[in-house]
Subunit: 261 residues, 2 copies
């Protein structure tokens, strides 16, 4: 299948990623004809924003679209795909950790478009800065997905499902786990009455620093030289949370080990 | 002691923080008369940059300065302070976790100026964005330190040594530990041949997001709903490093626990 000048798109899913992706395609002049979500409210809200029809029952998903973007949670992706009426459109999912060939039982032409970014429904993101990781079941599909991806961002890479899985794991550390450390910092600072916002410049600079030097070289803090005295004192300060103590201990050890490597 | 219009400063230490602090004060017209470091090269380099004399022996530290800024590693701070010839100047240290009263045996007037930021020697920082946490042994000192701090940044807070210790612990999580997660992400992605730089927009956005909503609300990823299937698969992918596996497991549990709280 060759991408028309203006292909029509159906979104399966209306979550954070679906919302941001649909908004960006819509702004770029791509016609979104339908938005499916099991949640009526989510389907209608996104459909309204992008001038599409909404749909809450899988059998009602149109067969008229050129491209179907499955932007769903990993836990429901296979199930929804298996129930979607087979049609002539190109099926694409957006998951980092799910293999491309979950579509294989239903289609010959399918692929993946995985944007490496964290999305919220309300905070608009600039897609042109986001790296997109693509995969296609054959060369024609790859060409089509590439054209679609290029509407969103110039940063496109073709990687297979195995590499994409590793990439996603890497992102779990850099994003999900890093954010959790911000949550712990928030918990710790709360007791002092000092607002969490005093940490913003530090969080910003830490994130900015690794763009200039490798994180291993940017590493600072008591764990680098395994300063036992301060490490013990800090673990003692966390005595109300054995879990935070264990995280502190384990990350300090790991910093020290990685520096020695 | 009242801060003169243009007080003279001696730096004890020539590391990352000392360098950035001295450069900023120098640019603001403060006269830095001496830089002490046990390392000849570090002392000379910083002294040259700020038009000061260098000094590598503690007994040679001048008694002529109005202010002495001890910007040293926590591990050597007390030792160097105890050996510094007592003089009439105001002694200030810059440590998050060391108490103010380590100066008490030698002086009546002393204090703390703790900038909550991560510093490198080469990457210049904008001090005007950095929150400064101050403490003084009496009101006069507090007034003096406040004036000095205001040259650097409008974001100043008075906190006691106990609160400052907690603040520093909070910063260890938000900065040192977060940076270590970037290092782990770097290790994981390396095997794929995809450059670490593809993670920059994600790292940036994750850091930016917590300025708009609390980190607990910004949390995403498989651990939020404790998606056992993907968690187990990701732990399996880390089989070459039991330490990374343990970090993955512990942080995922902790995310789940904090979300339920």
């Amino acid at each position: 299948m060759i991408l028309k000048e203006s292909p029509t798109v159906t979104f399966i899913g209306a979550g954070n990623l679906a919302t941001q992706l649909a908004l960006c395609l819509h702004k770029s002049g791509i016609k979104i004809i339908q938005v499916f979500s099991r949640t009526e409210e989510a389907a209608s809200l996104l459909a309204m924003k992008v001038g599409a029809l909404s749909c809450t029952h899988i059998p009602d998903i149109t067969s008229e679209a050129d491209v179907y973007i499955f932007a769903l949670k990993d836990t429901v992706l296979e199930d929804v795909a298996s129930k979607t009426p087979v049609n002539k459109g190109l099926w694409i999912h957006t998951s980092g950790s799910m293999p491309m060939n979950l579509f294989a039982p239903y289609k010959e032409s399918y692929g993946v478009l995985y944007p490496l970014q964290t999305f919220s429904k309300t905070k608009e993101v600039d897609f042109s800065q986001i790296p997109l990781f693509l995969e296609g079941s054959n060369e024609k599909v790859m060409d089509t997905i590439k054209k679609l991806a290029n509407i969103l961002s110039p940063h496109i890479y073709f990687v297979d499902s195995e590499k994409r899985k590793r990439l996603h794991l890497s992102a779990v550390f850099a994003c999900n786990f890093a954010n959790h450390l911000y949550s712990i910092a928030d918990e710790i600072i709360r007791e002092t009455g000092i607002p969490f916002s005093v940490l913003f410049p530090l969080i910003q600079e830490t994130a900015a620093k690794v763009q200039e030097l490798p994180p291993l070289d940017a590493q600072t803090g008591p764990a680098v030289r395994y300063d036992q005295n301060i490490i013990n004192k800090q673990i003692e300060m966390l005595k109300d949370s054995p879990e935070f103590q264990e995280i502190y201990r384990l990350l300090s050890q790991s910093i020290f080990h990685l520096q020695k490597k």
